[in-house]
Subunit: 239 residues, 2 copies
Amino acid sequence: MEKKLIVDVCLSPHLYPVYHKDDHIVVVIDILRATSAMCTAFEHGVDKMIPVASVEEATEYKNQGFLVGAERNGIALEGFDFGNSPYSYMTDAIKGQTIVISTTNGTQAIEAARNAYKIVIGAFTNISALCDWLQTQDRNVLLLCSGWKNRFNLEDSLFAGAVAERLSAGGLFRTGDAALAVSSLYSQAKTNPYKFLHNSSHAERLAAMGLKADIKYCLQVDRTKVIPVLDGKHLIKLS
Amino acid sequence: MEKKLIVDVCLSPHLYPVYHKDDHIVVVIDILRATSAMCTAFEHGVDKMIPVASVEEATEYKNQGFLVGAERNGIALEGFDFGNSPYSYMTDAIKGQTIVISTTNGTQAIEAARNAYKIVIGAFTNISALCDWLQTQDRNVLLLCSGWKNRFNLEDSLFAGAVAERLSAGGLFRTGDAALAVSSLYSQAKTNPYKFLHNSSHAERLAAMGLKADIKYCLQVDRTKVIPVLDGKHLIKLS
């Protein structure tokens, strides 16, 4: 069977315009921690999330009475309801709610790809559900790594490699150059991603903040079957 | 000994502004084939090269009587003296000459980094000379991959991985996230880079043009000790 679909990887939101095509599905990836936290929030019953790029927008929503998560440089901003730790979303208080979220990298990546055909949210915590769904869509897939302030990062690339490997193994997809590279990275790291990421500048940064539990959580696979998808300005549960 | 210097990788010229620092040495990389061809030209006695980003500038120089190499999309442009095949520079006709060169990716990368502290040219063909020199400079190093039209490519990343591995092994440098990733890529590919690159979109493109000999040449290590360095608008031999 000819592999007619392509899975490729865009390693920084800043590169998105170079990779944009009108018809591909974009998977936004911010493993530590925005997209992991989004999956957790939907798993715990949030109804909608509104990703916004700037703290100003987040503040505006907060003033309107919304629940708002806001994080910059790994730290939850004061005056808001959540940061981007998945643990902060494991509460009944979010059930049925709409939560606005703005983070250092993840929500910037969503913003960069806003004109894509479809944007879904990927994390190790929903990887199987995500890959199974992607394989039924008959669309090219672009894995968009949020990185760190538009720089390459290791944890998002690793996840992109995990997805590329699964899609390639599924027989429908061939890999672009970047997807091939991160697959290779993933194949070296997969026996112990936590140890591998120990070398990562961002993991180091988070560990220094005492967030090792967050990192371990974000590297767990298949905690949920939820796939958040962007619908206008809202993230909702893919049905 | 503390590793105080950093080697990192910028995977696309479009990302250069995100990685720019005032004081690092930038190694411009376009393995297939611009930077390989530049090393060859200097090895064969060219005096200076003038890298220019646009075909218009190249044409202007041509009209002024300069020898000019111009390539777009893998093909030597008509009306110029050279393309970017290293073989075209293996001639006594270039001895002592100044050659203007404009290519799809490599000269764009030089343009993107033009305000760097220092720009040198890297290729497998000068890798040992380059790494030895970098280890004497006491400067952070940024490996700038030219990629393909601002997209990630496999061959430039592979070379960046080879350099990052050597510098890291030398004991003076620690690796940034992207350098760590391409080192991992290189360690998987190094037993047979040609075979590994067979999967690369650009290698496929060149092979389809009948340029397998070029690819094989460009993957040979240490054909020369020359390191081209940018001095104002000219590339000259680092002395």
